[in-house]
């Protein structure tokens, strides 16, 4: 059989992410996958050198359109670490709540894209229908739908009052029910299983050596979740990492499905324990020092390396996003799969190329 080169991306209906793969295909078997990224390098890291460090949280939020809140949160945490700012506990709880909401909406978005990738349009629509409810809660509490803009250095910009908390908790019950409806399909449907089970297998050792993070790592059986480091309110709310041992696309999907429910529980616990008090402290002066801050995004661990030198601009702002760490694993499992499996494998690492390139 002659070899065909099938271009995949940067514009492709199944993969709305600007990554390009040249798939060398032999009778629908992929023998080689040559990646190229870098179509949308925006140089946001360089922008830190010209922007005020307090205003920069808006830029940090715009690194990614989906996990934007956790980017802003991580940035604020990094600055607060450098400057030793005592953040009020209520603000930490609110950050936790919003972080988990953004995790739910990101996972639902991913589940939808995954369903679409395997030609399951109906499931895609239902995933996004549920996601819309989450987005409405987010909009009501922060004012934005995907870019929350509610985190600032020293705390948060908005409070959630007790009445709103009550309605959110009621909505959460409804969302949880909807989630059960769709995750049941993802986990049990035979045709979904036929497309996911045994595809793109990554062993525990391989996943660790290739530096995978997040659900990709946990799907291969490594229990690592940055939330157990105890940032924000996670020192009071314990997080047990969700793991699966199969290491295939199904395992990664199952990890995300389970994490949805864990996030719902975390939000409930956070609302139960949330203390009264201030939501922000005033920040004065300029940061001096350096820190590496890690938090858990929906896609995995994100690493912020900040270096400040006492001016109002940062000297170095470096972000290592989860997709960046997961790309080698994707390239590792692509050769040998079927052409029809390519979207599954590419999607199970939940690629977010725009945040990868910053």
């Amino acid at each position: 059989m002659a070899r065909t080169v099938i271009p995949f991306g940067p514009q492709h209906p199944v993969l709305p992410e600007p990554i390009h793969l040249d798939l060398v295909v032999e009778d629908e078997k992929v023998v080689q996958a040559l990646p190229s990224i870098g179509f949308i390098h925006r140089g946001l890291e360089k922008l830190a050198e010209t922007k005020d460090y307090i205003d920069f949280v808006y830029v940090a939020e715009r690194i990614c359109g989906i996990c934007s809140f956790i980017h802003g949160q991580t940035y604020c945490q990094a600055i607060e670490t450098i400057m030793n700012i005592p953040v009020p506990p209520r603000a930490l709880y609110l950050r936790t709540v919003w972080g988990e909401f953004s995790r739910i909406h990101s996972h639902l978005l991913w589940l939808g894209l995954m369903a679409d990738g395997m030609g399951f349009e109906n499931l895609f629509m239902h995933s996004w229908r549920v996601r819309e409810k989450v987005l409405n809660i987010i909009e009501a509490t922060t004012g934005g739908r995907v870019i929350f803009g509610s985190c600032k250095v020293g705390g948060v910009r908005r409070d959630i009052n007790a009445d709103t908390i009550k309605t959110i908790l009621k909505d959460l019950d409804e969302i949880e029910k909807d989630l059960q409806g769709i995750t049941k399909v993802f986990l049990n449907d035979r045709s979904v299983k036929a497309r996911l089970c045994g595809i793109g297998v990554l062993s525990k050792q391989e996943a660790w050596d290739l530096g995978c993070v997040g659900p990709t790592l946990r799907g291969s059986g490594v229990a690592q979740d940055m939330r157990d480091q105890g940032y924000a309110a996670f020192k009071d709310i314990p997080v047990e990492p969700v793991t699966r041992t199969e290491g295939d696309c199904y395992a990664r999907c199952a990890v995300r499905c389970e994490e949805l429910f864990r996030s719902v529980n975390i939000i409930r616990q956070a609302f139960a324990k949330i203390p009264e008090g201030e939501i922000a402290v005033k920040v004065t002066g300029n940061p001096t020092g350096e820190t590496i801050t890690r938090t858990e995004q929906p896609r995995g661990e994100v690493v912020y390396h900040l270096k400040a030198n006492g001016t109002k601009n940062l000297q170095r702002f470096r972000v290592r996003t989860p997709t960046f760490a997961n790309l080698p694993a994707m390239l590792k499992v692509l050769p040998g799969c079927d052409l029809a499996d390519v979207p599954m494998i590419v999607l199970t690492i939940d690629p977010c190329i725009s945040c990868t390139e910053r």
């Binding site: 205003d55 808006y58 239902h126 004012g143 803009g149």
Partner: protein, 109 residues
């Protein structure tokens, strides 16, 4: 059997009223608490330029000498930062969103 979970969901929804709105015909109800858009009240503005300095995207330009307040709506990210820091409260966030723009026009006030 794993085949019927989805059939149940599909048939249930085929008989339920869709939760979508017929958008251009039925306007979307703004969600309470949404940041909305920025509105400028000329009366009490002293043209202090604080908003222009603090705007993260540089969407605002204020000219103190000519008493001009200018906003580039396509640059504005509706963060509400200017409304928060405005000393005279002449900037406020109101519900809803403006109409989509085709050209990059700046609003002069």
């Amino acid at each position: 059997m794993g085949y019927f979970e989805m059939s149940k969901l599909a048939l249930k929804w085929a008989l339920t009223k869709p939760p979508t709105t017929r958008y251009p015909f039925e306007p979307r109800q703004p969600i309470a608490g949404s940041r909305g858009q920025i509105v400028f009240t000329k009366d009490n503005c002293v043209y202090c330029t604080v908003c222009a300095k603090k705007c993260p995207t540089g969407a605002l330009v204020v000219n103190r000498a000519e008493k001009k307040w200018v906003i580039d709506r396509l640059r504005c990210i509706n963060c509400g930062y200017c409304a928060e820091i405005c000393p005279k409260k002449s900037l406020t966030m109101v519900e809803g969103h403006g109409s989509p723009a085709v050209t990059r026009d700046r609003e002069f006030h």
